[in-house]
């Protein structure tokens, strides 16, 4: 009993001291629980995260940062991984989750153990966790906005969709619907499934192309623009304005076309570096900030006719454009999310 009493006293003392001065995170450790590492986006994500987290350790902002990737893409494996991280006494866990719902049990256990949980990309719905999301719906609406600036008279569009049944595909599609409402001169004459994969997109576009009226634009979800361009080329049809998705092959094709005939388009996607934003959000919450909303919107990364050439050499072949957020960048984004 007496021991309990003293520890309770000590706890109150600690709580009071954190209230008085801002908590220091230099003795705290942040773990990253990742469910998949097998594509270029995830590889870029791990690289960005590793670089930023290592620098934070070197700068003595945090004591340690470790990355854990599950052997399979399975939900129970990641749930077990999160439970193991709880046992290792990490102060925060950054998660790219295998399922939005099915990790909630493990996430709740982490929260109950006093651990800060920040999810991104693959987010978790458990209310105690933070979510860093990209507003794909706004991104897709911005695609139509861009087309409207180029083609004030509107016209027929082809939509390339992503992997069916995912929330990302749903968001993109709804965003395009929003854009069409805002700019009623455009209409989508057909939509195909490209699965965010150039080869799949090329095949799908090639299949429907002979039956289509002249198309002025292609709205898509990234990872499918280069494939669409190849399909138009093979069919011998003029290139419409194909929106790109920040993949290296897409931007390289765009730059080639720009040099050859002044081709103009726009490119946008989520950056794998969103992992670094999630990292800083975790650090800021550990630092005692209480004003951070549980839903934080990551601005998407876009390239225009002016910026694409400078960006291209920095993207590895087969990779995707990324951005590594600094602590100050992250504070700005958090502040923007607070306003909303």
């Amino acid at each position: 009993m007496r021991r309990n009493g003293t520890s309770a006293l000590a706890l109150t003392a600690i709580l009071m001291s954190t209230a008085a001065v801002r908590a220091e995170t230099k003795d705290m450790r942040i773990a990253f629980s990742n469910n998949y590492a097998g594509n270029s986006w995830r590889q870029a994500m791990l690289k960005s995260y590793g670089a930023v987290a290592q620098k934070a350790v070197d700068d003595k902002i945090i004591a340690g940062s470790d990355v854990f990737t599950t052997a399979d893409k399975e939900v129970p494996t990641q749930a077990a991984q999160i439970q193991n991280l709880i046992l290792q006494g990490y102060n925060a866990i950054v998660i790219n989750a295998a399922s939005p719902n099915a990790l909630n049990g493990a996430v709740k256990q982490a929260c109950d153990a006093g651990i800060v949980v920040v999810s991104f990309d693959g987010i978790v719905t458990e209310p105690c966790a933070y979510r860093v999301t990209v507003d794909y719906r706004a991104l897709a609406a911005a695609e139509i906005d861009y087309l409207a600036t180029r083609l004030p008279k509107g016209g027929s569009l082809l939509e390339i969709r992503g992997v069916a049944g995912t929330s990302i595909d749903d968001d993109f599609h709804n965003g395009i619907q929003d854009g069409l409402k805002k700019h009623p001169d455009f209409k989508v004459v057909n939509s195909v499934e490209g699965d965010w994969d150039e080869t799949t997109a090329q095949k799908a576009v090639a299949t429907v192309l002979p039956s289509l009226p002249p198309v002025v634009g292609v709205v898509d979800q990234g990872g499918d623009g280069y494939g669409a361009a190849q399909a138009f080329k093979t069919a011998g049809r003029p290139f419409p304005i194909i929106i790109m998705g920040n993949r290296q092959d897409e931007l390289a094709w765009w730059v080639d076309q720009k040099k050859a005939n002044g081709y103009e388009t726009w490119s946008a996607s989520s950056a794998p570096g969103v992992a670094t934003l999630a990292f800083w959000v975790a650090q800021q919450v550990l630092d005692g900030r209480k004003d951070i909303p549980h839903d934080i919107v990551d601005p998407y990364l876009a390239f225009t006719q002016e910026t694409v050439e400078a960006a291209l050499p920095k993207i590895p072949v087969g990779g995707v454009a990324t951005i590594e957020y600094s602590l100050d960048d992250s504070k700005k984004i958090i502040a923007d999310s607070v306003k909303k």
């Binding site: 791990l46 990355v67 854990f68 193991n84 046992l87 290792q88 049990g105 493990a106 049944g165």
Partner: protein, 323 residues
């Protein structure tokens, strides 16, 4: 000649030792992994730590015992993973909203397993082909029922899976109960011997007047029953469902049964070993996590542990065969 006769008792002793070693290997590998964890992260070996590390072993254990039942008749159930996932989807949706209908669907699922056993026996079909087909059937049904992740676990299930048993963590209590029930049923009863005999020597069992059809139906039904329990246990822990939740359980359950001393043929299975095998697999994940292996190697390391344990068993077996 004389030399080998003189060496005979010694060899018999050696064979005896190998048999004991073989039987003890599952427990031994588990012990090594537990020791490794205790050394790397002593605070994991506590009531709280063991509960956290082992609660996801409960559904794996149930799926492994399920797999063991079909293995006893020389078959494999490739569909158990998606079946567990489908049961999970039913549990988080229908069973949560309408317990009567949910229970009826789950009972119907066990019925499907019984039928599957009958069809496989009557048409003499390879179980791998049939259950691979069922793998996609269950997955399709799960996606139909739950196209987007969601649903809620029934409260009683959450409470059960998170129950705090006195002194010994709940997952360990659950494992002991599961092992005891399966052991007594399959290894100690006379009908249990018939069930195993159907895998060891089907013709002998048939000549003795037992219905092989009934045996096959019962074993498949038991697999379905364990699959249902595994799905329930899993949803009690995750609190919400996902159509792809159980996919990994097919391989985990086979690996668990084999790690635990089972064989693909001959009706040779071990209920206690299977439970230990499932725990070994789960804890191997924790051990790797605590070892802080670079993420590039984590995936390979997980496979490495499996190969090491299985290789040790093959070595012991081969030694036994040559002497």
């Amino acid at each position: 000649m004389t030399q080998s006769i003189a060496a005979l008792p010694e060899r018999r002793q050696l064979r005896q030792a190998r048999r004991i070693l073989r039987a003890a290997l599952p427990a031994l590998s588990l012990a090594i992994i537990v020791l490794g964890i205790a050394w790397l992260n002593p605070r994991a070996i506590s009531y709280f730590g063991l509960t956290l590390m082992l609660n996801l072993a409960v559904p794996v254990t149930l799926a492994t015992i399920g797999q063991m039942f079909v293995m006893a008749t020389n078959d494999l159930d490739l569909s158990i993973g998606t079946f567990v996932g489908f049961v999970g989807c039913v549990t988080a949706t229908v069973l949560h909203d309408d317990p009567v209908l949910g229970t009826a669907i789950l009972a119907g699922c066990i019925g499907v397993y019984v039928l599957l056993g009958a069809v496989i026996y009557l048409r003499n079909l390879p179980s791998i082909v049939m259950t691979l087909g069922m793998f996609f059937v269950w997955q399709g049904l799960a996606i139909l029922l739950l196209p987007k992740p969601g649903g809620h676990a029934p409260d009683w299930l959450k409470a059960l899976m998170n129950s705090k048993t006195p002194y010994v963590p709940f997952p360990i209590v659950a494992a002991v109960v599961i092992a005891a029930v399966a052991y007594v049923g399959l290894m100690q009863t006379s009908y249990g011997a018939i069930l195993r005999g159907a895998g060891g020597n089907a013709q002998a069992v048939k000549r003795a007047g037992w219905s092989l059809l009934k045996v096959k139906m019962l074993l498949y039904g038991l697999t379905g029953f364990c699959g249902v329990l595994a799905g329930l246990a899993l949803i009690g822990l995750t609190t919400s469902a996902d159509a792809n939740l159980g996919n990994g359980y097919t391989l985990l359950s086979i690996a668990g049964a084999i790690l635990g001393g089972g064989e693909f043929v001959g009706g040779r299975v071990s209920p206690i070993g299977s439970v230990i095998g499932a725990f070994t697999l789960t804890l191997a994940g924790s051990l790797l996590n605590f070892m802080h292996i670079s993420p590039d190697w984590q995936v390979a390391a997980q496979g490495g542990i499996l190969i090491a344990v299985l290789a040790a068993r093959v070595l012991i077996n081969r030694g036994g065969a040559t002497s």
